[in-house]
């Protein structure tokens, strides 16, 4: 997969990597069991510190998105998370709140927001189906 780093986004670089890998995993860009790039070549390619990549992978591992197989590297895990349903809900609420706040400032009505969420769910589903065909 190809990563895009933006130093001006205000999001720390390691979190940008985390988000892009989670996005790829959710949209079929990265499939279960597929390896992630190893740290050194990825760090060289993006010209970011190796610690940054290592930190991103450690974060993804703690979130249960990837697993490290000693001597083999990091792989995308089958869906299944160590977090409880309540913890998962809490995490999602934060993300939803962010979207709600953004919608408010962009003067998007509640109905428009809900319609958009539905549309995005369909888009991801389509991408996922396409990836598995």
């Amino acid at each position: 997969m190809i990563f895009q780093i933006d130093f001006k986004s205000g999001t720390p670089v390691y979190l940008q990597l985390v988000e892009q890998i989670r996005h790829a995993a959710a949209s079929g860009g990265l499939r279960t069991g597929e390896p992630l790039p190893s740290i050194r070549p990825l760090a060289e390619e993006l010209r970011v510190n190796r610690n940054t990549i290592a930190k991103a992978y450690a974060e993804l591992e703690s979130q249960g998105v990837i697993e490290t197989l000693p001597g083999k590297g990091c792989f995308l895990k089958a869906v299944g998370t160590p977090l409880t349903k309540t913890a998962r809900n809490d995490l999602l609420v934060q993300e939803v709140d962010r979207a709600v706040v953004a919608a408010h400032h962009l003067q998007i009505t509640d109905d428009e927001l809900l319609a958009l969420v539905k549309k995005r769910l369909e888009t991801f589903e389509r991408k996922n189906n396409a990836a598995h065909d």
């Binding site: 780093i5 130093f7 001006k8 986004s9 205000g10 720390p12 670089v13 050194r40 070549p41 760090a43 060289e44 993006l46 010209r47 970011v48 510190n49 190796r50 610690n51 940054t52 290592a54 400032h105």
Partner: protein, 301 residues
Amino acid sequence: MNTDAPVIEIKNLVRRYGKHDAVDGLSLNVRPGKCYGFFGRNGAGKTTTIKCLLNLLRPDTGTVRVFGLDPRTNEVAIKSRIAYVPDMVAFYPWMSVRDTLEYLASFRQNWNQDIEKDLLTRFQLDATKKTTSLSKGQRTQLALIGAICPEPELLVLDEPTSGLDPIVRREFIETVIGAYQSGDPTRRTVFVSTHLIAEFEGLIDEFTIIDQGRELLTMDADAARDRFKKIRARFAQEPKTNLTGALRVKRNGRELEVLANGNSEQLLAELKTQQPEELKVEALSLEEIFVASDILKKAHA
């Protein structure tokens, strides 16, 4: 051994040339495994500071410690664990690339032959070539090979990529990330002084901006990008420009560009009271933060 003990520790360093204070009370700490940026304008005191680390200059007052040791009394012990790439590198003109590397290796307890071979191939350097026939880029590449093969715990870079072409600069940074950082991460610390801040942006964990020999700003890079923001706003009418605590406000017709220093939320709220048609926030890059630090300085003065 305490693994968190700073690799470089500078306290109230003062170094004068005659009556001119080149470094005037500088303090900073570099922790192991970090890549530390050292930014400043020409003549800010960067090279003088670096020379004090290497015992090429002695401090007038204040203390400098590298691996907890005083460079004045433990020069050899320190130098055996560090490597230094200056902006101008010179080699003995009668030596070939191979001779030069062998000569450099003769001072070192450890010399990684595999890295040497890899890098010679990567840079397409002909080992039989005389150093006098090397270009500036090739000279820097040779210096970098000489710095990385001993696998030093600390790599000190002083304007290493200035005057080089973009491809050589890119390879230089990739080599620091790849070949140098591939070892034990806690024993791979980089201290880099540079004006080409954008190129090193992804590498820098923490930085100090030095101005007229004094520390102007020391921050974690992510925290700095979080604190310094640029807000762009467009209004239906010409907007008011008196915003509380803005680092800088630029107006162009109905548009405003506002620099925030940790107060972007408050500035955004203030701007919103003027009903903007469009409002955008982005982080400042380290280079922009460096430029903005000039405004900070004037605010302090």
